[in-house]
């Protein structure tokens, strides 16, 4: 099925999938940080490639990106994107540093950030797994610190072999009342979002 045939009902279901996954991930992050973590209502973004670079506001904004391949019955990518100050904030809490300490990117801090990616992704996907009964697992995380556009293009390129539009299920995590931690993207390939919708009985 072509992506353009998805109707409002399908999109609502995909949004709900984002809600359930991200809700679980937010809880896991809150436990890890011992702080309140909230999330915004997920957004479904269906885009042509020319728009992908601009998703986070600026293609040149420096961000930290943690990318995991999704394997099993659902395939695609998970991308967790943090602004640099948010990455610094997370690392300081995890390492027990003073909150305002400047972060150095070294083996330990990068590994801590990857672990955050691991935990968030693991809880997001296990919620989806429980919901659908499908087998869904993350691969090992990889990390890059660079322009948002260059990082966001990575999952799109892989999906570009089979399609001209990509579907990103985006959820923003917030700490406390207004501190943005980062944006979490589930990017299923075309077969996978159809499988998700089918499993939930939404395709008839």
């Amino acid at each position: 099925m072509d992506i353009s045939l998805l109707n409002a009902f399908h999109l609502d279901i995909l949004k709900e999938i984002g809600n359930i996954g991200a809700g679980n991930a937010a809880t896991a992050l809150a436990k890890l940080l011992d702080k309140k973590v909230d999330m915004k209502v997920p957004q479904i973004r269906i885009m042509g490639f020319s728009d992908v670079n601009e998703v986070l506001g600026g293609a040149e904004t420096p961000v930290v990106g943690i990318l995991l391949e999704v394997l099993g019955d659902i395939t695609g990518y998970i991308l967790f994107v943090l602004e640099q100050d948010a990455a610094c904030f997370l690392v300081n809490i995890l390492m027990g540093n003073p909150i305002n300490q400047e972060m150095e990117y070294n083996e330990i801090t990068l590994s801590a950030l990857k672990e955050v990616g691991n935990i968030l992704t693991g809880s997001y996907l296990s919620a989806l797994s429980t919901l659908t009964g499908l087998r869904i697992m993350p691969d090992v995380p990889a990390l890059a610190i660079d322009m948002a556009g260059a990082i966001l293009s990575v999952p799109a390129i892989e999906l570009g072999k089979t399609t001209d539009t990509v579907l990103y299920i985006e959820t923003e995590f917030i700490q406390g009342t207004d501190k943005v931690i980062g944006d979490f993207f589930l990017v299923p390939d075309a077969d996978s979002y159809i499988r998700l919708l089918n499993t939930l009985g939404a395709m008839c």
Partner: protein, 162 residues
């Protein structure tokens, strides 16, 4: 960024007459290919994502691939009065943004994009006068029609002209 600049998105290509500036933001493993006619000062830019159109299931968008994208850009330039003999190329991008332990195909896509780009330009007989490819960092490029210079801007590796 110059005021009269034209943005070229991912899997997109544009060409313009002098004076003009073509810009593409946040190139990762994609490759930006600038074609420039030294006589007419026409300038073109293609932002390709994948190497070969025949390797993909969906190849309707020509600008997505190195082979079809570069050829289409070249045709556009010839149609607007350029001569093949005076067209030169500059290329940038083809980075590997994420490094995984296992080197799957996806991950080396940047390198494959650069290889395909070089091959297609060689087939077309267009010389690559300068390049800035590979590495593990993103690039923003701006191409100027007055002298065909290409500015490459990075995070952490500065700004330079090729």
């Amino acid at each position: 960024m110059a005021e009269n600049s034209i943005k070229v998105g991912m899997a997109d290509l544009k060409q313009t007459h002098h004076p003009g500036v073509l810009v593409t933001l946040g190139l990762g493993s994609c490759v930006g290919i600038m074609l420039y006619d030294r006589k007419t000062k026409n300038i073109g830019l293609a932002h390709i994502m994948l190497p070969w159109s025949h390797q993909a299931k969906n190849n309707t968008n020509k600008a997505k691939f190195a082979d079809t994208g570069i050829r289409q850009l070249c045709e556009l330039m010839l149609e607007s009065g350029c001569r093949k003999g005076s067209i030169i190329a500059k290329i940038a991008g083809g980075a590997q943004m994420f490094s995984f332990s296992q080197g799957s195909d996806t991950i080396r896509i940047g390198q494959r994009n650069v290889e395909a780009t070089r091959e297609v330009l060689r087939e077309l007989g267009i010389p690559i006068v300068s390049d800035d490819t590979g590495g593990n960092y993103g690039r923003t490029i701006e191409c100027y029609s007055d002298d065909g210079r290409m500015m490459v801007r990075t995070i952490g590796y500065g700004v330079h002209y090729i």
